[in-house]
């Protein structure tokens, strides 16, 4: 016990963590007994938020793991993918033409149309990821990682401008089949989109963990560990990069769709601000460790919970904190996390240049 106290005193970050975590836990426990319904609804919303962050974070992690690059273009990829989904599902015509949207003439109910559009959007996102990787990342293999990161930043801006000015994003509905509906817990409503986000995150993570055990997944981890040795085994490093980018873009697209849903947003529509989901998920990635899928999941959940719970229970203090304070909570959590573990919760303890 004495040792523990000594360590606490030496580590200001740990001291801070305990100084903050203990009162917060007590406070939350009081709230739970005070009004279990609100607490449960908040918990569900925080899980929905966390799942959305985790999905986006997973996209970051896959690309970082394979290519050692933080892909700052995830946000623009999210918007582009969600936009495509919206075009496929909500438009009468194929964009820029007068040809009827073939998806509308398919038989079956609306949710089936939406499913087909979603698959198409995933294919579109994957192709977009592949094209970007081929054109801008592959030629940079072996170049300083900083340059590659800046290239992705440029891509983000270019894609955003393209989406904004050429495609003209103006609140395009993604028409999710569950809409804005939800079920009631007492007087609180819990949106179906929260359940959808949780299920999607679960599927995404199970898929990634299965992928990591597969032939290609092992190859990807080998490339992540030692590129040259992987090449010497006959692993095609370029192909591994391509797969990572395709998967990362698909995850960004799915994250983009959930970024339009409660609890992230109530609008149900894609607009340029949807891209911000990537930067809001960045604390989750960094907190979890840039190269760990488990870290992305846990980081997403922690950051999401911090944001939603702070938004719910500190709402009385907006005079001091300002109206939009929940959005910065993830960054505060990330900062404290990094002070304690500089390479993230599950990251590889090694200096990584971002």
């Amino acid at each position: 016990m004495n040792n523990f106290l000594l360590k606490l005193r030496q580590e200001p970050a740990l001291m801070f963590l305990f100084g903050v975590m203990v009162p917060i836990t007590v406070f939350l426990a009081m709230q739970l007994f005070n009004d279990p319904e609100i607490f449960f609804a908040t918990l569900m919303r925080s899980l929905g938020m966390g799942s959305t962050y985790a999905i986006v974070a997973l996209g970051f992690v896959l690309i970082f793991k394979a290519t050692q690059t933080v892909n700052f273009a995830q946000g623009a990829l999210a918007v582009s993918g969600a936009l495509f989904l919206s075009f496929a599902v909500a438009d009468d015509h194929i964009p820029l033409t007068t040809i009827d949207n073939p998806i509308n003439s398919l038989p079956g109910p609306d949710w089936f149309h939406w499913g087909v559009s979603l698959v198409l959007a995933m294919v579109f996102a994957a192709i977009l990821g592949l094209v970007i990787e081929r054109l801008t990342i592959r030629p940079m293999v072996g170049q300083p990682l900083f340059s590659v990161a800046v290239i992705t930043l440029g891509l983000e801006i270019a894609l955003r401008v393209f989406n904004n000015d050429t495609v003209k994003v103006e609140f395009r509905n993604v028409k999710v089949p569950w809409g804005i509906d939800g079920f009631q817990v007492g007087k609180e409503t819990i949106n179906y989109s929260i359940i959808a986000a949780m299920v999607t995150a679960a599927i995404a993570f199970v898929a990634v963990f299965i992928f990591y055990r597969s032939r290609l997944g092992i190859a990807m981890r080998a490339v992540a560990f030692d590129q040259e040795a992987a090449m010497a085994q006959g692993i095609n490093v370029g192909r591994v990069f391509a797969i990572a980018w395709a998967a990362g873009a698909v995850l960004a697209m799915i994250g983009g769709v959930f970024a339009t849903q409660p609890p992230v947003k109530q609008s149900l529509a894609v607009d340029n601000e949807t891209a911000n989901i990537a930067f809001r998920a960045l604390p989750a990635v960094i907190l979890g460790g840039l190269d760990s899928a488990t870290g992305a999941l846990l980081g997403g959940l922690i950051v999401g919970a911090a944001e939603i719970f702070a938004g719910q229970y500190a709402a009385g203090e907006t005079d001091i904190l300002g109206a939009g304070y929940p959005v910065i909570v993830p960054y505060v959590v990330m900062m404290i996390g990094l002070l304690i573990r500089p390479y993230g919760l599950f990251g590889t303890p090694e200096i990584r240049r971002v």
Binding site: I218, R221, F225, E228, A229, M231, Q233, T348
Partner: protein, 264 residues
């Protein structure tokens, strides 16, 4: 089988590392490539396995021919598929992966599952110790075990030519003997071996033919047994002197008498 003719390799477009190197590895033989630090041994391996690009190197002249096909500028994956695999210097196992996963990366180019399983059994036969450690993280293996894993990983692609880059590096004498016996076993299974070594005694004792490399050129070559008996090799590589073969004291070295050039 493998034929390197007048190969010239330049790093960063200025540093000439190999200057007209010619080597031949006949089918079914063990060929040793010896040389001091910086002689160009590892560069030769990189040139054969297509990894020069990674190090900003380029083969500017000469050719590498494998089974009658020119592979001087082939991609690493194509070279592995065509039957040449290297065991890299310093083992380079994937420390974060388990032993089984490491072996799986070695078999990446083989699509046929039955063939992979066959190679896997063969590796397990050759290295019973790896069978015991199948699920362990490779980073926690001992140096000797890691070297075995690196050789096993290379065998997973079922190569016809195995290139070993300093397999004795950093190993205890007993382990070196063990690795040497394994190399002989692998060779007996019909795999040609190109053995790159600084440990000349170990390499020449199992090789059929030997090449001695100095500053990017072959300065001497011949049957391994002959090289072992050669006075220069004995003096420069084995630390022996004279007919008796007894160890030489540096007190007796008369510098003006030491030859600076190879007679070949």
């Amino acid at each position: 089988m493998l034929e390197i003719a007048n190969l010239e390799v330049v790093y960063n477009e200025v540093i000439l590392v190999l200057r007209g190197l010619s080597i031949e590895v006949p089918e079914g033989d063990i060929v040793a490539l010896l040389g001091a630090n910086g002689a160009g041994k590892t560069t030769t391996v990189r040139a054969v396995s297509g990894l020069l690009d990674v190090h900003e190197g380029e083969a500017t002249k000469g050719s590498i021919t494998w089974k009658g096909k020119d592979i001087t500028h082939a991609k690493p994956s194509e070279i592995v598929e065509s039957g040449i695999t290297q065991v890299m210097e310093g083992r380079r196992v994937f420390a974060e992966l388990t032993v089984d996963e490491n072996l799986a990366t070695g078999g990446f180019t083989v699509q046929d599952k039955a063939k992979t399983a066959e190679s896997y059994d063969r590796v397990m036969d050759l290295f019973p110790i790896l069978a015991e450690r199948r699920k362990q993280t490779a980073g926690y293996l001992s140096g000797g075990e890691q070297q075995m894993l690196a050789i096993g990983r290379a065998l997973m692609s079922d190569p016809e030519l195995l290139i070993l880059d300093e397999p004795s590096l950093g190993l205890a004498p007993m382990l070196i003997e063990q690795i040497r016996d394994i190399i002989v076993d692998i060779n007996k299974q019909g795999v040609s071996v190109l053995l790159i070594e600084q440990n000349a005694m170990m390499a020449l004792s199992i090789a059929k033919h030997g090449y001695i490399l100095e500053t990017g050129k072959v300065v001497m070559d011949g049957e391994a047994q002959k090289l072992l008996g050669d006075e220069d090799v004995q003096e420069f590589y084995l630390g022996l002197h004279g007919e008796g073969g007894e160890r030489k004291s540096f007190r007796d070295v008369k510098h003006y008498k030491r030859r600076k050039r190879w007679l070949s």
